[in-house]
Symmetry: C2
Subunit: 333 residues, 2 copies
């Protein structure tokens, strides 16, 4: 295993130390229980938004903590759910009294631990709501997941709900908005290579040199099928078809097209993917009015991509455009 680390057990702790040192203007980090929070939290008269999950998907979620997005993020060990005490402590630190929304990706450990955390917060008199993101159309059930997995729509929900919270919306409003983003978002991904979890020390899965994993999960969970490597354009067609037909999106819909790199895929390839995805979207009558291209939800050094479509409207578009100031996404500030 070749990694720029000191020891597998210190990866997350040391990375967080480096992260807060680099971005002290934006974030603070607490350890034991561990969470990243906005430097200026709690923000008065604002619903707090917290997400979290296993580490190894950076910049998700810690890179999205800041003005206009998340108030806190709870990182677990690599590819391992954070524990309820992390979310409980984070909620206590960032809730200004207007309540907290937990945005949870649909993996069994995350769902259970966020639910336990919500119970603890409520028992303490806190107001908390949870929304589970399950936008991955690849498979129905999967390793670690009942139902669909939560992937790309998660960060779109974090951005959009963050803007709504910043604008003063209530907890119920921000929760409903998060459910709407999840309902209107669909994703699918594929991998060219596996990744290696530091404390495991060997690749999560084996993939022959001429094969790809189609519909892969962000922890390397199996997808729909293995197949021979194909040209990028064919891969994009195969990713877009189930995304577009699942919602279903309708001709004339305005959409956000998010092309994500899984970590080891060069930017130049992501633009090749974006080019074709845009063409397929147009052919389906969709109007791509917003986009995001980059490695935002990663699986360590995995090579591959995922595509997310989100149906936009007069409510969602201005919230997407609203200013955001985090280490991984920033505009308008």
């Amino acid at each position: 295993m070749k990694k720029l680390i000191n020891s597998p057990e210190n990866v997350v702790h040391e990375a967080l130390e480096g992260m807060v040192a680099a971005h002290a203007d934006l974030i603070k980090v607490q350890f034991d229980p561990t969470f990243i929070m906005r430097a200026d939290a709690p923000v008065k008269n604002k619903v707090a938004i917290i997400s979290g999950g296993g580490s190894g998907h950076e910049p998700m979620h810690g890179g999205f903590v800041g003005r206009g997005m998340l108030d806190a993020a709870c990182p677990g060990a690599v590819f391992t759910s954070p524990t309820p005490d992390q979310m409980q402590a984070a909620t206590k630190a960032v809730d200004s009294g207007k309540g907290t929304l937990l945005i949870v990706k649909n993996y069994t450990g995350d769902v259970m631990n966020f639910e336990l955390a919500a119970d603890l917060v409520r028992a303490d008199g806190g107001q908390v709501e949870s929304v589970i993101i399950d936008d991955d159309v690849a498979v129905k059930d999967s390793t670690w997941t009942a139902g669909r997995r939560g992937v790309g729509a998660t960060i779109l929900a974090e951005k959009i709900c963050g803007a709504a919270a910043e604008a003063g919306q209530s907890l119920a409003e921000v929760r409903d908005l998060c459910q709407k983003v999840n309902a209107q978002g669909r994703s699918m991904g594929m991998a060219l290579t596996s990744c290696t979890v530091p404390h495991v020390g060997k690749p999560t899965f084996d993939l022959p040199e001429d094969e790809i994993e189609f519909g892969v999960g962000i922890h390397g969970e199996p997808g729909r099928t293995r197949m021979k490597l194909k040209p990028a354009d064919e891969i994009v067609e195969m990713l877009m078809e189930p995304i577009i037909s699942d919602l279903p999106y309708k001709s004339g819909d305005e959409v956000l097209l998010f092309v994500n790199g899984l970590g080891g895929t060069p930017q130049i390839e992501l633009y090749i993917i974006y080019r074709k995805a845009l063409e397929v979207a147009k052919r389906a009558g969709l109007k791509v009015t917003r986009n995001l291209v980059g490695s935002y939800i990663t699986s360590l050094e995995m090579a591959g991509t995922s595509i997310t479509l989100l149906k936009l409207d007069h409510q969602l578009t201005p919230l997407w455009d609203a200013p955001v100031l985090t280490s991984a996404l920033r505009w308008g500030l």
Copy 2:
């Protein structure tokens, strides 16, 4: 070779099509000769800044085209210098009459082709200055380079000179500033893995599973030595020592610390590198007042890192902080 491409010969063209489709608010792309330019160029009464080089290092340079940074970028084939007609056409497109600065990384092909372009522009009556960046302390001469290679300081120069040009400085002032950034910046990198150039189809170099290339170039050029993989902290010590001692930086100096990923290195590892690099800088008495952490100068999917230190002062710091709006770097706008 596993890549998300259609064919090696179309990689750059298709990526540029995707890039301009994604960022039409910021950039325009011209083909044959090929360059990326600011959507609003030429910008009146402003020195134009152009850079370029082989593709495969994204987001450098195309990702830095926009307000407050580059007016144009000329991409060659992967790891291959752009041709003089590209820089000539780009200069014609973006020069508002106040002259053009060419920022050139020190590789033999780039230096020759940018120089030829400068001659062509001058023959046409244009005002043009060139600055060659050679900040890599790893080796004296290298494959494709006489003298030191140009690496991390390049984008710092692009940002800082871009801000100065935006503020109305003259061509001579912006040129001098670029030379100063180069004089005050030092870099060094290392690789855990090779990368594969699409039209070559096999890894640029072979590296045993337990070895690293110390002092690697951004095209996979040999560095100082090969050695066994070490813990990240030891690698950082070994990268920082020649950087700090070369200038030499002095105790009390304010510096910008730039930790760069070469493409295949997860963000979590870059923060582990940053954490230690900051510690080493502090131990040397340096005051890290600005930083940049991310994959900004890449070598396709190569795993590895480079560290750049830039000595700051009352002139450089405000220019670094000035607003920038490009697809890869944006703040304050």
